[in-house]
């Protein structure tokens, strides 16, 4: 029994908008050109709700909610940006910068990185929390790709793309908390993976310079993601 989606009206940032009942606040906001920052969200992948960048205020709800996983309701009043929300987002972004080693100036994704762009858009000019400077490995064993854990934000996009779209589930996250890390198979080198199809989807969905193509120099790594919603649609119709 498939639920029929209904049209609902709601207010986002004072603007009256409409959407389908199975749409999230984020989707409806996007359709109406209202900007909500995101990081782990990517159209074409399942919703994750991990990065907390898209938190918004909903009138009557006791807590801030992630716009990506909260469905709209009739009469909902959403505030996507207030001083409080903005400050929380800045702090979360700052925490992400402290966690690994994001050296933008020496990164192949410089200029095309979602983390870097978010810092620019939200006006993060410095990070108030102390940097952790963990020693992280770089896996360059694959013929075509590199995994640089220094740049990883653990958004889980690669894991989801590999599992949900490619169907290989070569990548997953190991450990937990601050020590979690993205792995290939049984924490093996990427180059020796028997399950990896080398399709490159993980590389292109990665928001930062954690997964990149070989042979790219600083600022040369641009990602292509247009294929994703298309692929999703085609697979649903299969």
């Amino acid at each position: 029994m498939k639920k029929v989606s209904q049209i609902q009206t709601l207010i986002i940032d004072g603007k009256e908008v409409g959407g389908k009942s199975d749409e999230s606040i984020l989707q409806v906001a996007k359709e109406n050109d209202i900007f909500i920052p995101t990081l782990c969200y990517l159209e074409g992948l399942s919703d994750y709700g991990g990065c907390r960048m898209c938190i918004v205020e909903v009138k009557g709800m006791p807590r801030l909610v992630p716009a990506c996983t909260t469905l709209i309701r009739e009469g909902m009043e959403v505030t996507t940006n207030s001083e409080k929300i903005h400050n929380y987002r800045l702090s979360i972004l700052a925490l992400l910068f402290t966690e690994r080693n994001h050296i933008c100036s020496a990164c192949v994704s410089n200029g095309h990185c979602e983390l870097q762009t978010l810092a620019l858009k939200l006006g993060l000019t410095h990070v108030e929390f102390p940097y952790i400077f963990p020693k992280m490995p770089v896996d360059a064993t694959h013929d075509r790709f590199i995994a640089d854990h220094n740049r990883c934000v653990l958004c889980g996009r690669c894991v989801r793309a590999c599992h949900e779209v490619e169907g290989a589930h070569t990548k997953d996250i190991m450990g937990r908390g601050i020590t979690s890390r993205v792995i290939t198979d049984l924490k093996e080198s990427w180059g020796s993976s028997k399950t990896c199809t080398s399709c490159g989807k993980c590389v292109h969905v990665c928001p930062t310079g954690a997964l990149t193509e070989k042979g790219k120099s600083v600022a040369e790594m641009e990602k292509r993601r247009q294929f994703l919603p298309y692929l999703k649609l085609m697979r649903e119709r299969r």
Partner: protein, 177 residues
């Protein structure tokens, strides 16, 4: 009207930020109408003077010498500007932070040295265990990120500071290039 006293300095950095400062080209003359550069690598003064209004410092705090310098600058300056990514994030100098300093010395003076494999005999500044952003050591008033920060943004920031305002740098410059 008395001119605003500007000092510049660099700690553990590549001087690229200072180069970018020079990239404001002839606009520097406009700035100098109402400001003096009283200290820094671009001018020839030996000691850091009293009563500096604005200090622009590039580079991370990496050695005991850097630590002394920045503490002194902070003490004698009204407004301290963290200038560029190394000053704000430790950036490239921070890439050595995952290695013990002993290994760094080994690498620099022995493994990578073709001739004369020894620690320098004259005193060199002692490396701290980590290269740190300036604001983890002293209080910073203005952050001007970029590697290097674009000349236009430097000009804008200096103009604001000279006119007694704190520049609003949000959305104007980012980490990296």
């Amino acid at each position: 009207m008395e001119k605003v006293k500007i000092a510049t300095s660099w700690l553990d950095g590549c001087s690229g930020c200072h180069m970018s400062l020079l990239d404001i080209d002839e606009r520097i003359l406009t700035l100098l109408e109402s400001a003096d550069i009283v200290y820094g690598p671009l001018v020839d003064f030996k000691d850091y003077p009293q009563g500096v209004d604005v200090a622009i410092v590039e580079g991370a705090v990496s050695s005991d010498e850097d630590e002394e310098k920045i503490t002194k600058i902070r003490k004698l300056t009204k407004i301290l500007v963290s200038f560029g990514d190394c000053a704000i994030t430790a950036n490239i100098p921070g890439m050595r932070n995952y290695f013990p300093t002993k290994e760094l010395y080994e690498r620099a003076y022995f493994e990578n040295a073709d001739l004369n494999q020894k620690r320098p005999s004259i005193r060199i500044p002692h490396l701290l265990s980590h290269a740190r952003p300036i604001h983890e050591v002293v209080t910073v008033d203005v952050f001007l990120p970029g590697c290097p920060p674009p000349a236009d943004v430097i000009f804008y920031s200096l103009s604001e500071l000279i006119n007694g305002r704190l520049p609003d740098l949000k959305g104007k410059t980012r980490f990296g290039r």
